[in-house]
Amino acid sequence: MTRPKTIAVLLSMLAAGAAGGEDAAQGVLTRAPAVIEPAVPEYPEKAKAQGISGEVVLELDVSVEGSVLDARVVRPAGNGFDEAALAAARRLRFSPAEIDGKPSAVGVEYRFRFDAPPPAPPASAVAILRGVVVERGTREPLAGVSVSAGDRSAFTDRGGRFELADLPPGKVKVVALDPGHHRFETEEALEAGKALEVRYHLLRSTSDLYEAVIVGEREKKEVTSVTLTSGEVTRIAGVSGDTVKVVQNLPGVARAPGGFGLLVVRGGNPSDTRFYIDGVEVPLIFHFGGLTSVVPSDLVEAVDFEAGNFGVRHGRATGGRIDLRTRDPGTKRLHLVTDANLFHALAMGEGPVSENAAIAVGVRRSYADGVIRAAARSSDDFGVAVAPRYYDLQGKLAWRPTPDDAVRLSFFGSDDRMQFTGVKTGQLEDLDRLEIGTAFWQATASWDHRFSDATHARLAVAQGNVRVSNRFGTVGSERDTIPVTSVRAEGTRELGDSFALAAGVDSRFVPSSSLVVEFPEIPPPNQLPKPDNRKIRMDMNLRAWETGVWTEASWKPVDGLVLVPGLRAEREVFINEMRWLDPRLAARWTLGDATTLKGGLGLYHQPPLAVFLTKQWGNPDLHEEGAWHSMVGVERRIWGPLTLDLQLYYKGLFDLVLPTNEVVVRDGASVPLRYTNGGTGSSYGAELLLRWAAGGRFFGWLAYSLSRSVRDQQVVGGTLQPGGDAFDQPHNVVALGTVELPELWTGFSAGFRVRYSTGNPYQPTVNAVYDADTDTYQPVVDPSSRRRTPAFFQLDLRADKRWTYRTWILSAYLEVQNATNRKNPEGAAYNYDYSQQGWMTGLPLFPSFGIRAEY
């Protein structure tokens, strides 16, 4: 059967007024909509019988999601063509347009042309060309590609398929065109009466193969949030593609020593920031406390980082918040990846299970243990029973049973282990065994349901388990098993155009845990430590739970202004009971096309570290720590992909856990109090992020933080982690970028990262005391005196090369950290009696490489 020829042409873009109840923004079109699901109208029988051609021009209202909300005929053609065109127009689907970088509803002009079919030639005199168009390398079917052969043309459908009939036999030039891919040309030989099946591979013209396209993103309410896509993350120099470490390059995050994953956010302690995967809190985010994150970047769609002033949906943290959003597995084809670098190897596979379900599974393992084992054989200083190694395991199933439902099942597991024997410490006692082992897994089931355009709900239930097995010779040991159940439920309802209400519950339960710990006391502050490591032993079966109930409103009193007040109530039951109420307010005011003012004020609380609450090492009468967050800022789109975000912030810290030498009477006996909630401090500064968004040949950013972090009380010792003021870096500058250079070499890109930061403060040693019982010198510091290590400067370079074959892609990268081989001081180093001081320097020039294959 012959098919009428129709040509649908996108004529022009109109910045329209209100359409279908959605506001279309004024501004610069930064991404034009493209047809992803074409529609072929029915040729009216009447016109076909009369051999009449026609052209209908329509005006379409396209929603933010890319569906056609309304269609109107602006230039009719009659003869049934108008009705056919209108019917087909409603089946069209576009990729979302973007105005000023944000998905936006737009109006477009669209033309359907109906050419009267020529008299059908004898069947045996024509040929058919049909096939499928996929992307070279990824094999991803491409929709909306224009395929023309001679004077015939068609668009590929959702599955990338096309068919061109009634072609004259013989040689014909075939051209395939698509805005995101290089032009494809070939010549085919057609035989009369036969159909030729073909498969064309188009080469993508931009290199961001896995850039996350965030479709239908909810209007932004957050004031400090920065989102990084996986496409940006994987090629940033100096982080070896680690998703979470990239966050360290954003403003508001202090530089961590040695490239480790410590996250010190706006002057807080490292433990003040909480980590989430898909909104569910996880206990650990790094292997070995800071080496590399537990989720490979291949499964991460984006990272949301909030340095402060986050909304009431999350709590129990006075610092920041980091959420890894994993992507749903691809539903179109099988995708296999294997990746190996200096540290670990990864294998991952994903693919469709059914039309609306897909699954992904990945596993990763380190292999530095082989190198370390070899080094240990030639060393007298330690033996190796289990060389340091880590592995992690991920799986995700995503299922969309209906257009209004999304069900996801995911699993994450991580295992770190090392065991050294005969470790020489240089002290009187060596460690007969040094064992570090941490394992956790978490399985999450989530359900997102859209009741209507105005009402959404989400339920996530997670079950996990944490196991810790540490031993430090005869000094101490820890064996913990902690099962954790998490429940998050939230609902959102829009009440009119300018008001929305959301509420939810966020709970975590530990029904029963086993904590077996033997460790000496934490050395009291402001004293020499005791030489006898007399162990405190704890064998506890602990139940705990924490529940937060929150509600949040989103109100737009006038055009462009959004106010988001919220309230979160929290109850913690863990050794003791704590309750608190956190009111928070955020505001965003969009001025004109490209500028948004923002501000936030809120109260944040968190429980003290668990060890400080135990009666064995801490003070069970402690209560929660708190912080006031305040910020004002401006976001501005300077031009196209170049944006500016400037924030001023102030954090007031109070009720911080502070070590003390005070004595208290408890149960009739005088005992050391050890800790009080007597600490106060503040953190304030300005943060600038100048960012060139991904999507073109270059992406990168300049981040500058001007900040101070101060604690009002000075103690020496008595804590388990350095306080936020230990990373007080008044100036912190990061500039990074990656540029594609196809002119030099196809598939080649190069990147850099430059970092400068003020040195960390340290307390100089005033004198030293020889401890005759331990045969060591103990430093005596003056807590009120501060000096700084010299400034830090480092240049990292990275080069990536990708070879794209028909059905697979090979990539390789070479990275050089500290390319200038600068000896950056990370801390003061002293000789045995502290009479001489030098610097402990970080890693020297450090090359690494990786190779990756994808099918």
């Binding site: 009291p524 405190i536 032993r537 020889y770 401890d771 019982d773 009696d833 610097w839």
Partner: protein
């Protein structure tokens, strides 16, 4: 339910580069290598019956100077202060507070004042003067380098001693208190100063301790000095084990030949294997004991393992510490010819300590 981790910083310490400082085993200036309390464990005198341990301990330091062999007459004076805790009082001892250790002169002055004023009503001073000794190159064969501090005018300054005050005891503690089993620790501060007893005793004052303290404080910042802390166990009435005694060492052997302290041996400029010379029956001196936790509950039974610290005024010693049966390597290849001293300090890791030293001549 957050978790803290010191692991990143520990890993950084492993991965980072540190300067190449001289090792602690090299003696190049005034050093205090050990402080001995004899006995290492004392106990309050009981109201009746035999005491579990004496109620006082004699204190002495092992002071070694780099010019030991070439300037044997040069003196170091060591002044002792003691802090005896009250059982059941968890307040920190002033002898270990960093505020006081930052200001040694102030600490000495406070101790002198309290010593001169006498004990407060109903108790002992928090920090008190505990004696003086003078250190010099000892006579051949003597293992002690410090002894009585005698001025040129014939005044013998009080010998260093930690004594429990009269009436001291654990009776006020409730029956289940851990201190009854674990005991408590007294802390001793030893201020070693490159000065003679004459220099410290010069001056006038009603109270000799105050004179000493004033002079020492004045010279402290100007002369070589070492401040040392030493703990002495005060045994609880329910302690499960026999009282601790100091370990023993009879000498040092080089290449299995004991070095005679009275006749310096000549050693080649090569690597020499050093071992401690243990007395007969040394194995039996490795006392059994019960490892206790913080509540006084037993964890396990164990036997002492002695650790040896090695020091020398020339050459390079491979390890700062060796253990029972271990051998130290002393590399004299790059050492200048002439006299040198090697020393070994043995610790039982329970507060007991002993030492020996030997003078040698390195071949030119």
């Amino acid at each position: 339910m957050n978790r803290a981790s010191i692991l990143p910083l520990a890993l950084l310490a492993l991965a980072a580069c540190t300067p190449d400082f001289d090792p602690a085993s090299r003696v190049e200036k005034l050093r205090v290598l050990a402080v001995q309390a004899e006995p290492p464990e004392i106990a309050p005198l009981p109201a009746s019956g035999a005491p579990a341990a004496p109620d006082r301990a004699a204190l002495t330091s092992f002071v070694l100077r780099a010019d030991f062999a070439t300037a044997p007459g040069r003196e170091t004076t060591v002044l002792y202060l003691a802090c005896v805790p009250t059982p059941g009082d968890p307040s920190p001892s002033p002898c270990v507070l960093l505020a006081g250790l930052r200001d040694p002169a102030g600490t000495i002055a406070e101790a002198a004042r309290s010593s001169c004023a006498g004990p407060p009503p109903g108790g002992a001073a928090a920090i008190a003067f505990a004696g003086v000794e003078a250190c010099r190159a000892p006579a051949a064969g003597a293992w002690r380098t410090c002894g009585a501090a005698i001025t040129s005018g014939g005044l013998t300054l009080p010998s260093p001693e930690l004594a429990l005050p009269a009436g001291y005891g654990f009776d006020a503690l409730p029956p289940g208190a851990p201190e009854r089993i674990l005991g408590v620790q007294a802390a001793v501060l030893a201020f070693a100063l490159d000065a003679t007893p004459d220099e410290l005793a010069a001056g006038t004052g009603a109270c000799p301790a105050e004179v000493l303290a004033t002079r020492l404080a004045a010279l402290w910042a100007q002369r070589d000095h070492v401040l040392t802390v030493k703990r002495v166990w005060i045994r609880g009435p329910a302690a499960p084990d026999a009282r601790n005694v100091n370990p023993a060492i009879d000498g040092i052997a080089a290449g299995n030949v004991p070095l005679d302290p009275a006749a310096p041996a000549s050693l080649p400029r090569a690597s020499v294997a050093l071992t401690p010379v243990s007395p007969a029956g040394a194995d039996a001196l490795h006392q059994p004991y019960t490892e206790l936790d913080s509540t006084g509950a037993p964890i396990r039974s164990a036997r002492e393992e002695w650790v040896y610290s090695w020091f020398g005024t020339a050459g390079e010693l491979k390890d700062l510490h060796t253990r029972d049966g271990g051998v130290e390597a002393w590399d004299l290849a790059a050492a200048a010819g002439g006299p040198a001293v090697v020393a070994a300090v043995v610790r039982d890791l329970r507060g007991g300590v002993a030492w020996r030293w030997a003078e040698v001549t390195i071949a030119p």
